[in-house]
C-alpha cells in the first residue's frame, strides 16, 4: 500500500548514473549549411545513461543554455536523445538544466559543463575527435512514493562489468578508482605517522626545555 503519492520516503536515496559531456570535431570541407564562416568546429553536447540506456522515464527534458552569441541560446531538448549539435569556434561554459518528470516533484538540477574543442595534451597526435565526458550520479534523496515507484521499474544503476571503448565507466573502472584512492590513503597515512612522530618529538623537546 503506497502512502500519499507526494510523501517523501525518508532515509532512502536512489541514485542513477549519468554521463554528460561533449564531443568535438574540426570541420573540414564538409560544412553544414548555414554555419557561420568563422566557425571552425562542430560539437555535440549530450546527457545520457552510461550504456545509452533509456533515461527518459525520469528525465522529462534537458535545457542547454549556450553562449549568448548563439541565436536562441536556450535550447530545450524534450525527448531522448538529450543532445545538441552546434558549430562554433570557442570554448565556453554550457549550463545544463535537467527537468525531471512531473511525478518526481523535484526541482530542476542545474550544473555547468565546459565545452571542449581543443586537445589539451599537445604531445599526443591530434585526435580525430575531442571528447570531454564525465560520469556522475544523480542522487534522489528521499524521493516521493510515486517517483520511487517509477524509479523501481528499471534497474537504472547497472554498470557494465568491464571497460569498453564505447563505455569506459564500468565496475572495473570503479574498482580501479577505489584502488587508486586506497593507495593515496595509505601514502597519506604513512606521512601522517611520520609527522606525528616529529610533532611528538618536538613537544617532548619543548617540555624538556621547560
Amino acid at each position: 500500500m503506497a502512502g500519499p503519492p507526494n510523501k517523501r520516503i525518508k532515509t532512502i536515496s536512489v541514485s542513477r548514473p549519468i554521463i554528460y559531456g561533449n564531443t568535438a570535431k574540426k570541420m573540414g570541407d564538409v560544412r553544414p549549411p548555414n554555419a557561420p564562416a568563422e566557425h571552425t568546429h562542430i560539437w555535440t553536447i549530450f546527457l545520457r545513461g552510461p550504456q545509452n540506456e533509456d533515461i527518459s522515464y525520469y528525465i522529462k527534458q534537458v535545457v542547454f543554455k549556450l553562449h549568448d552569441t548563439y541565436p536562441n541560446s536556450t535550447r530545450i531538448i524534450s525527448a531522448p536523445p538529450f543532445e545538441l549539435t552546434e558549430t562554433g569556434w570557442g570554448e565556453f561554459d554550457i549550463n545544463v538544466k535537467i527537468h525531471f518528470v512531473e511525478e518526481a516533484n523535484e526541482k530542476v538540477l542545474s550544473f555547468y559543463h565546459r565545452l571542449r574543442l581543443h586537445p589539451y595534451d599537445m604531445t599526443q597526435p591530434s585526435q580525430e575527435e575531442i571528447k570531454s565526458i564525465f560520469y556522475d550520479e544523480l542522487v534522489f534523496n528521499e524521493p516521493n512514493e510515486q517517483f520511487f515507484q517509477i524509479l523501481m521499474t528499471k534497474p537504472g544503476n547497472l554498470l557494465p562489468s568491464n571497460k569498453t571503448e564505447s563505455c569506459p565507466f564500468s565496475k572495473q573502472l570503479e574498482i580501479e578508482e577505489i584502488d587508486r584512492i586506497n593507495d593515496g590513503i595509505t601514502e597519506v597515512e604513512k606521512q601522517i605517522e611520520e609527522y606525528k612522530d616529529k610533532v611528538t618529538n618536538k613537544i617532548k623537546e619543548k617540555s624538556v626545555d621547560m
Partner: protein, 683 residues
C-alpha cells in the same frame, strides 16, 4: 626714484606708450630725482585711481598688467562693538584671620568694596587641630587607672569648659589691645611682654629671644621667631623648666589659657608686623632684603648664649640617667609641640628638645598616641576614635627600616633590580604566550580532553601521556566532518531490524529467505560502515536479471520502545519518528535483495539529509579556500585527480576518507611548523 627711472637704468623701452608719453622718459632721464609728472600719469590707460606704491607698481608692470583691481577691502574682522568698559581694580583690605589684615587687588571700584576689610575667602581653611588638654592630676589618673577615673574626668571636663569661657573673654581683651597696638608699637611691646609672662616653654623662649634681639626692628624679630624659637630652646629650657615646675600648680589655669593663646598671639605679632610693612611701604622691601643677614646675626647671638649656657646643661642632662621614662612635663611639652605644629611629626621631631633627651619620631608618635588613647579611654571607653589612635611601633620601625634600605640603594643596585624586573616580565610574557599557543595547538589536535586545563600537559609526562592517548585514539572526529550529525539514527535502525527479525522468526509470517538475508546483511554492515556518507552495502557484481515489481507490504511498526533514561527522551522522540519512517522504507525494500537494491541504486542512510536531487560529485567535501588549495596540492602529489573520474557511491566514500586523512596531514604539518617556529623564538 620712480618706475621710469628703473626702466632707464635697465635700459628697457617702455612699450605701448602713447607718443605723448615718449617725452616723459627723456624728461625723467634729465632729472634723476624727478617724480612722474601728472601729465604722464593722466595719459595712462583708464585705470582705477592709483596712488603711491600702487602707482609705482603699475608703472613697473607696464601695459601688460593683468586686469587686477586692488579693492580696499577690510581684511580683518571688525573689532567688537560691545566691548565692556574696563572695570577698575582696587587694592582692598581683607581679613586674613582674626587679627591680621592684609591688602590685595580686587576687581571693582573702591565704592563697591567699601572701607571695611572683608573676610578672606580662605579664612575657613585656617583650622587648627584640637588636641586633648589635661592637668597633671588628670594625666596621672588616666595613666594609672584609666577605668576608675571616669567620673573625675567628667568633672574636669566641666572645669575645662569654664576655662574655655575665661579664655574667650581674654581673647576679646586681646582684640581690643590689638587695636591700640596698631597705633603704637611701643605700647604693643609692653602688652606683649605682659602676655609673654604667662607663656610656657617655646613661647617664653621666643620672648627671651625677642628681648635679646630687643634693639632690632620688631618685624625682623617677628619674622625670625618661628625659625629661631625652638633652636633657642637648647640653652633656655634649662632656665625655664625649673621655674615652670615650681609654679606649676599655682599657675595651672593660667598656663592652660596662655597655651591656647599661643597661636593667636603669634598671629597678633605678625599682624602688627605686616601692618607696619604695608604702612611703611618702601621700608619693607629693604627690610626684607636685610632679614636673612640679620637672621644669621640673631642666630649667632643666640648661639653664643647657647654655647655659654649649654655646657652646664649638657652635664646636668648627662647626670640624669638619660631615662626614657616619660614625665608629665615632657608629655605636656610634646602635646604643646603637637598643637603648635598641627601634628606635623617631622617638624615636631626636629624641634623636640626636652632636657636634652633625644627621642626618635617614632617614640614621640608612640607616646602621643598612647597618651591620647588613654585620655580618650578615660573619658569614654567606647569612643570610636580609639581605634584610630593605635600606633604599631614595631611595624613602623620596620617600615622605616625598609624604606631607608630602599632609598639607600646605589645606582648600580637600582639598575640591576630594574633589569631583573624586566627579565622576569619577559619570562612571564613568554610563558603566557606559550600557554596560549599550546592551548591552540591542543585544540587543533582535537584531543579528547582539550576542554580541560592545559596545565596538566605542561610537564613532559603529561605531554607524552597526551600523545599516547592521541595516537591511540584513531576514531576521533576531525573538524571538517563535525557538521555531520551523529549517527544516532543508525542505532535505532539496527534495533529495529533486530526486532523485526525476531518478530519474523516468531510469527514466521513470511519465510522469505532473501529478505531475511538482506536484513541480516544490512544489520551486519551497518556498524562497520559508520562513515559520514551513506553506508555501502556488499559489492557483489552480479546484476539481477529479472525485476520483481515492487510490492509494498505494510507491516505495522512493530517495534516497541525500549526503556530509556530521561536524558534520552528528546532523542527518543525524534528517533521514534524516524523509526516509523524507516519501518516504512524497510517494508518497501523488503522484497529486494542486495543485488536488486544495488541495481536499482537504492541505499538506506540513517542521516538527516535534505531531500531533493543532487549530483553525487557535488557532495564531495570542500574546505576553506586556503585549506582547499593545500588539499589539492597533496592530491597532486599523490597523482590523484581533484574530482574522481567516476564519482560513484563507493568511490566518493573512499574519496572522503582520503580527504579526511589529507586534512589531518595538513594540520599535523601546520603544527610541526608552529612548534619549530616556537622553538626558534624561544632560542
Amino acid at each position: 626714484m620712480s618706475s621710469s627711472d628703473i626702466f632707464d637704468v635697465l635700459n628697457i623701452k617702455q612699450k605701448g606708450k602713447s607718443p605723448s608719453n615718449d617725452l616723459s622718459p627723456s624728461v625723467d632721464t634729465s632729472g634723476p630725482s624727478s617724480v612722474l609728472t601728472p601729465g604722464s600719469l593722466g595719459s595712462r590707460a583708464p585705470k582705477p585711481q592709483v596712488t603711491g606704491m600702487q602707482r609705482e607698481l603699475y608703472n613697473l608692470l607696464g601695459d601688460n598688467q593683468p586686469s587686477m583691481i586692488v579693492q580696499p577691502t577690510n581684511k580683518f574682522k571688525e573689532s567688537l562693538k560691545n566691548v565692556t568698559k574696563p572695570s577698575p581694580w582696587t587694592q582692598a583690605r581683607f581679613k586674613a584671620n582674626k587679627r591680621l589684615v592684609l591688602r590685595h587687588w580686587v576687581k571693582g571700584s573702591k565704592d563697591l568694596h567699601g572701607e571695611e576689610p572683608q573676610v578672606s575667602a580662605y579664612a575657613k581653611y585656617d583650622q587648627h587641630m584640637s588636641l586633648p588638654e589635661f592637668t597633671r592630676e588628670e594625666y596621672e589618673s588616666f595613666m594609672l587607672e584609666p577605668e576608675k577615673k571616669k567620673l573625675k574626668s567628667v568633672d574636669e571636663d566641666k572645669k575645662n569648659e569654664k576655662l574655655d569661657e575665661k579664655k574667650n573673654k581674654k581673647d576679646e581683651k586681646d582684640d581690643k589691645k590689638d587695636e591700640k597696638l596698631d597705633e603704637k608699637v611701643d605700647d604693643k611691646d609692653k602688652t606683649k611682654t605682659e602676655d609673654m609672662k604667662d607663656d610656657k616653654k617655646d613661647e617664653k623662649l621666643d620672648e627671651k629671644l625677642d628681648e635679646k634681639v630687643g634693639d632690632k626692628d620688631k618685624t625682623k624679630a617677628d619674622d625670625m621667631k618661628d625659625g629661631c624659637s625652638l633652636e633657642g630652646t637648647n640653652g633656655e629650657l634649662s632656665e625655664s623648666v625649673p621655674t615652670e615646675q615650681s609654679t606649676e600648680k599655682a599657675e595651672e589655669e593660667n598656663k592652660d589659657n596662655s597655651k591656647s593663646e599661643t597661636g593667636e598671639k603669634k598671629d597678633n605679632e605678625t599682624d602688627t608686623g605686616e601692618k607696619k610693612d604695608s604702612e611703611t611701604g618702601k621700608d619693607s622691601t629693604t627690610d626684607n632684603g636685610d632679614i636673612p643677614a640679620e637672621n644669621t646675626d640673631t642666630e649667632v647671638n643666640k648661639n653664643e648664649t647657647n654655647t655659654t649656657q649649654e655646657q652646664p646643661e649638657v652635664t646636668t642632662s648627662k647626670e640624669e640617667p638619660q631615662s626614657k621614662e616619660w614625665t608629665y612635663e615632657e608629655v605636656e611639652y610634646l602635646f604643646n609641640l603637637c598643637r603648635t605644629y598641627d601634628l606635623r611629626w617631622f617638624v615636631i621631631s626636629d624641634r623636640y628638645n626636652f632636657n636634652g633627651i633625644t627621642r626618635t619620631t617614632e617614640e614621640l608618635k608612640n607616646e602621643f598616641y598612647m597618651v591620647s588613647s588613654k585620655y580618650f579611654q578615660s573619658k569614654n571607653a567606647a569612643d570610636s576614635l580609639l581605634a584610630s589612635l593605635e600606633y604599631p611601633l614595631e611595624m613602623e620601625l620596620e617600615r622605616k627600616k625598609y624604606l631607608e634600605r630602599l632609598l639607600s640603594r646605589s645606582a648600580a643596585e637600582i639598575a640591576e633590580e630594574e633589569a631583573l624586573i624586566i627579565e622576569s616580565r619577559k619570562f612571564e610574557m613568554g610563558a603566557k604566550k606559550m600557554l596560549v599557543e599550546r592551548e591552540a595547538l591542543l585544540r587543533l589536535l582535537d584531543s579528547p580532553n582539550s576542554d580541560k586545563s592545559v596545565a596538566q600537559y605542561l610537564t613532559s609526562q603529561g605531554i607524552s601521556q597526551l600523545y599516547s592517548s592521541l595516537l591511540a585514539d584513531k576514531t576521533r572526529k576531525r573538524k571538517h566532518d563535525s557538521n555531520v550529525p551523529e549517527n544516532l539514527w543508525m542505532k535505532q535502525q539496527q534495533q529495529f531490524v533486530q526486532q523485526k527479525q525476531q518478530l519474523q522468526q516468531l510469527h514466521d509470517r513470511k519465510p522469505d529467505i532473501t529478505s531475511n538475508n538482506a536484513t541480516t546483511q544490512n544489520h551486519k554492515n551497518k556498524p562497520v560502515t559508520a562513515t559520514p556518507t551513506v553506508s555501502s552495502t556488499a559489492s557483489s557484481s552480479v546484476p539481477a536479471g529479472s525485476m520483481p515489481p515492487p510490492q509494498p507490504v505494510t507491516v505495522p511498526p512493530s517495534g516497541t520502545t525500549q526503556k530509556r533514561t530521561k536524558k534520552q527522551k528528546l532523542e527518543q522522540q525524534t528517533a521514534q519518528k524516524r523509526k516509523t519512517e524507516v519501518a516504512y522504507a524497510e517494508n518497501l525494500l523488503k522484497d529486494f535483495n542486495e543485488e536488486q537494491k544495488k541495481s536499482l541504486g537504492i541505499s538506506m542512510h540513517g542521516e538527516k539529509l535534505t531531500p531533493g536531487v543532487y549530483l553525487r560529485s557535488t557532495k564531495i567535501s570542500t574546505f576553506k579556500p586556503a585549506l582547499q588549495n593545500k588539499v589539492y596540492g597533496v592530491l597532486q602529489e599523490l597523482k590523484l585527480p581533484v574530482r574522481p573520474a567516476m564519482p560513484s557511491q563507493a568511490v566518493v566514500a573512499k574519496q572522503e576518507e582520503l580527504l579526511k586523512q589529507i586534512v589531518t596531514l595538513i594540520e599535523l604539518k601546520k603544527n610541526l611548523d608552529k612548534l619549530e617556529a616556537e622553538k626558534a623564538v624561544s632560542q
